[in-house]
């Protein structure tokens, strides 16, 4: 027998309740009653739990600029602008890719169907629009809602009905995890609280129908009305006779409430809200799910608008070749720079790949691209590549930034050694490792020794390692000796004039083209001499005369 869908969870094959239900229900009830609960959704999502993940966000989140990536790349169009997403929740969700392949497959299925069916994507966008309106009304009373609490609450309940209807109708043909929305919507529609909600809204809008005959004079002005008939919708369970309504008001007054029609409506609204309350908590959780998929679609649209491709990657087994064709850096695109796609191929995923090439040749950007692609792929989302085949990694460790702090206890080499020690302390077998310019803080001969040690040790853990270095002679020696079995080499491809092409080919670079970089940045002998002469002349002009 088919189990009824209790939770519209779009992230997991087995629906999970991830928000704190009791806390969220209480916060929603307070917000519904008072209209003052800014941040209810964001707070509930920030406290949400996630599927088990072996990834530790602190090992890569900062160096990969995940926060920036989400904030700038995951955009959801709403009305004329971008919706305000719960970025913290999205970052947490992305940085904790699920360990269970079934969950990843479930998410890929949803993403795939959204790409294949623009109608479903549009329905999802409409549903998110309704959710946002619901959130806005619930979290902050504005306009008439400030003064007419019943009107505001009825508007909220009307939106609830719209959302349920949109789920039931809009996703009826879905085949992926999106079908859960239709099942959830249908289940709620069949329930008594939904029927009561619909009845209350009809009661609010149509207590009775008057049939009027309007007489219009020759001058076009209304001359009179004639009441032809009154039809009271007595079949509605909320409709009661006039005497009973009056007595109900009296009863409420005795019970400590106000003596008014509004008070009667308030009690009925409360009763209806009480019935539908549990479903509303699920919608808070659903908001985060919608933002993930719509954000991913937004990322895809932004890429396509820039002429870049994204794809749902093939998740390969450990022995399959790694293929990334048309890989590009999302951070560059997010900051308005047109990224240059490149291809990266290795015969196996579990290799240590040494990247060499000139400064500003795109090595660090490649590491970022690889890290983000892995992150998105294991999250079941689109990766910034035309074609991708990746092997899941149990962890990701990224070290791209060499921060210097005022209170650091060691010099540059010391800090780098501490970084290496920390890496090995937490590195599980098979993890993905991205290291930028390992051992660049000491003299090359001593640094190379440590470098080689690190690589030898790393290979014992069979990681998917990508390491950049400027120790070109050392890298060339390792390539020639081939003493380390899993070591691979990739270099920045140079153009005819030795300019970087931002493409990568097998091998070790012959030069770092420091001179090119120096010339590009104005650090040649002539350029420095010109600056010196200018400064001397300026000083002479300012010296006192006589």
């Amino acid at each position: 027998m088919h189990e009824p869908v209790l939770i519209p969870d779009l992230l997991h094959p087995v629906p999970q309740s991830r928000v704190d239900v009791e806390h969220t229900r209480l916060a929603m009830a307070l917000a519904f009653a008072s209209g003052v609960s800014g941040g209810l959704f964001a707070e509930a999502l920030e406290r949400a739990t996630f599927a088990p993940s072996t990834w530790q966000p602190e090992l890569f989140e900062h160096d990969l600029f995940v926060q920036n990536f989400v904030a700038l790349s995951f955009k959801v169009k709403l009305g004329g602008g971008d919706a305000l997403l719960a970025t913290t929740h999205l970052v947490k969700l992305l940085t904790r890719p699920p360990s269970d392949p079934a969950i990843v497959a479930h998410r890929r299925g949803v993403a795939k169907e959204l790409v294949e069916s623009p109608a479903l994507a549009e329905e999802l966008g409409k549903l998110y629009g309704l959710v946002c309106r619901f959130r806005t009304l619930l979290e902050g009373a504005t306009g008439v809602g400030k003064w007419d609490s019943n009107r505001r609450q009825l508007d909220i309940l009307a939106l609830v009905k719209e959302m349920i209807d949109a789920m039931a109708k809009g996703f009826a043909g879905a085949r992926s995890g999106l079908s859960r929305l239709a099942e959830f919507g249908a289940r709620v529609q069949a329930s008594e609280p939904y029927r009561s909600l619909a009845d209350l809204l009809r009661y609010d809008e149509q207590l009775a129908t008057l049939n009027l005959k309007v007489s219009v004079g020759a001058d076009g002005k209304i001359r009179g009305f004639q009441l032809m008939g009154i039809q009271e919708h007595t079949e509605n369970p909320f409709v009661a006779g006039a005497a009973r309504r009056w007595l109900a008001k009296l009863e409420l007054f005795v019970r400590g409430y106000g003596f008014s029609d509004g008070e009667v409506m308030a009690r009925l609204i409360d009763a209806v809200y009480d019935g539908i309350e549990d479903e509303l908590v699920r919608i808070v959780q659903l908001t985060g799910d919608l933002e993930l998929y719509l954000g991913a679609l937004g990322f895809r649209e932004r890429a396509q608008a820039a002429g870049l491709d994204v794809c749902l990657p093939e998740l390969a087994t450990a022995g399959s070749p790694r293929v990334l064709e048309g890989l590009w850096n999302p951070l560059l695109l997010a900051h308005g720079t047109a990224p240059v796609p490149c291809d990266v191929r290795t015969d196996r995923p579990d290799t240590t790949l040494l990247l060499t090439g000139p400064n500003s040749g795109g090595k660090t950007r490649l590491l970022q691209s690889l890290g983000l692609a892995q992150l998105l792929a294991q999250g079941g989302l689109f990766v910034p590549a035309r074609v991708a085949r990746l092997a899941p990694a149990p962890s990701l460790v990224v070290s791209l930034i060499q921060d210097t702090t005022a209170d650091q206890a060691e010099g540059r080499l010391g800090m780098e050694l501490i970084r290496i020690r920390a890496l090995f302390e937490r590195l599980p077998p098979g993890a993905m490792v991205l290291l930028d310019e390992l051992c660049s803080g000491t003299n090359p001969s001593e640094g190379e020794e440590i470098f080689e040690l690190v690589i030898r040790m790393l290979t014992r853990l069979r990681p998917q390692a990508f390491i950049t270095t400027h120790f070109l002679a050392f890298a060339a020696r390792l390539e020639q000796e081939r003493k380390i079995e899993d070591l691979r080499f990739l270099q920045v491809q140079l153009g005819p004039s030795h300019e970087p092409t931002y493409q990568f080919v097998p091998g070790v670079a012959k030069t770092s083209l420091a001179g090119h970089a120096a010339a590009r940045l104005g650090v040649t002998g002539d350029q420095l001499m010109a600056l010196i002469e200018r400064n001397i002349a300026a000083a002479a002009r300012q010296a006192p005369t006589g």
Binding site: A33, S196, P237, G256, A271, D274
Partner: protein
């Protein structure tokens, strides 16, 4: 707890939630942090109970006051009834019958008259010992009943009454003066000498209180203050004397005609003038004696005139009346 907000068309689950919403059993947060419905209900109950208590107290006090008022009214009516029980049918119209004679007494003087039966020796003396109602006043006050009542109010038992009952031996100042002093003495002394004589004013004041219209005022009284005033009026009224006056057999009327212009006026207002005296048999409706005599204080000594001019003239008048009656024999 059932509520009128629940209709028969509602599902049981919805009905239960409506009841919970009304009874506040859902434990949901309230926007009214300091006024839960239960607290508000208690406050309202206290207010209602207070108002009801005050209203009940006020009603009970008013009812108690009303009952006391009705008891007071009943007791007053009972007192009136007790007094009325002592009246005869003839007593009710007595005052009117007496007052009917007064305009005639104040009209044109019809000449002296002494009926034959009064001319017998001792007849006048015996007559003045019968129950008498007395009134004296200036001539102009006898023109109407209303003015005669003013005269009656001012009319006291004077030396004329005393000296008619107990006549002086001679019309000398020496003989008159003891009688006059007695008349000027205490009320009790005069009363002792003339117990058979009542003032018309006593009947005019007392008898209306025993009449049905006065009882109707008691019945119609709406305020305790009004009833208290009526009770005070009844208690102060000389009812026994009124009854006695109403049952008088003889009306004694003295009408002071205006004095001669330019004459001497004594300190007490007395001066020479004519006085009409009439004795009327009320039962027979017959004038027994009618005469006009002149009084003049000038013969009296200066000392007596200063203090007793009116009294001496009145006593002398009584002497003259008795003398005239005897002379008519």
């Amino acid at each position: 707890m059932p509520t009128l907000l629940v209709t028969s068309k509602m599902s049981p689950a919805l009905a239960a939630r409506v009841e919970a919403s009304v009874s506040g059993r859902r434990g949901r947060p309230s926007t009214h942090r300091f006024t839960t419905p239960r607290l508000m209900s208690i406050v309202r109950l206290v207010i209602v109970l207070t108002v009801v208590s005050v209203v009940v107290a006020v009603v009970m006090v008013r009812r108690g006051e009303q009952q006391a008022f009705e008891r007071d009214r009943a007791s007053l009516l009972a007192a009136v009834q007790k007094e009325r029980a002592q009246l005869t049918a003839a007593d009710d119209g007595a005052v009117a019958r007496i007052e009917a004679w007064l305009p005639r007494a104040g009209g044109a003087f019809e000449g002296d008259l002494v009926v034959p039966e009064l001319r017998a020796p001792g007849a006048l003396g015996a007559l003045v010992m019968r129950p008498i109602v007395y009134v004296r006043g200036p001539l102009e006050d006898f023109g109407s009943i209303e003015r005669s009542r003013r005269a009656a109010a001012a009319s006291l038992k004077d030396a004329l009454v005393v000296c008619l009952a107990d006549p002086p031996a001679a019309r000398t100042e020496k003989a008159l003066l003891p009688k006059v002093r007695a008349a000027y003495g205490s009320v009790a002394s005069v009363e002792t000498r003339t117990p058979n004589v009542r003032r018309l004013h006593e009947a005019e004041v007392g008898m209306p209180l025993l009449s049905p219209p006065w009882s109707a005022r008691v019945v119609a009284a709406k305020e305790p203050k009004e009833l208290a005033a009526l009770r005070t009026e009844l208690e102060r009224a000389p009812l026994a004397r009124a009854r006695q006056a109403a049952r008088a057999e003889v009306l004694l009327v003295a009408v002071d005609e205006p004095g001669t212009p330019g004459g001497l006026t004594e300190l007490d207002g007395e001066r020479a003038h004519d006085v009409r005296v009439a004795l009327i048999d009320l039962a027979a409706g017959k004038v027994l004696l009618r005469m006009r005599r002149r009084v003049d204080p000038t013969p009296w000594s200066q000392t007596s005139r200063t203090e007793f001019a009116s009294g001496l003239d009145a006593c002398a008048l009584a002497f003259d009346v008795r003398a005239a009656a005897e002379a008519a024999r």
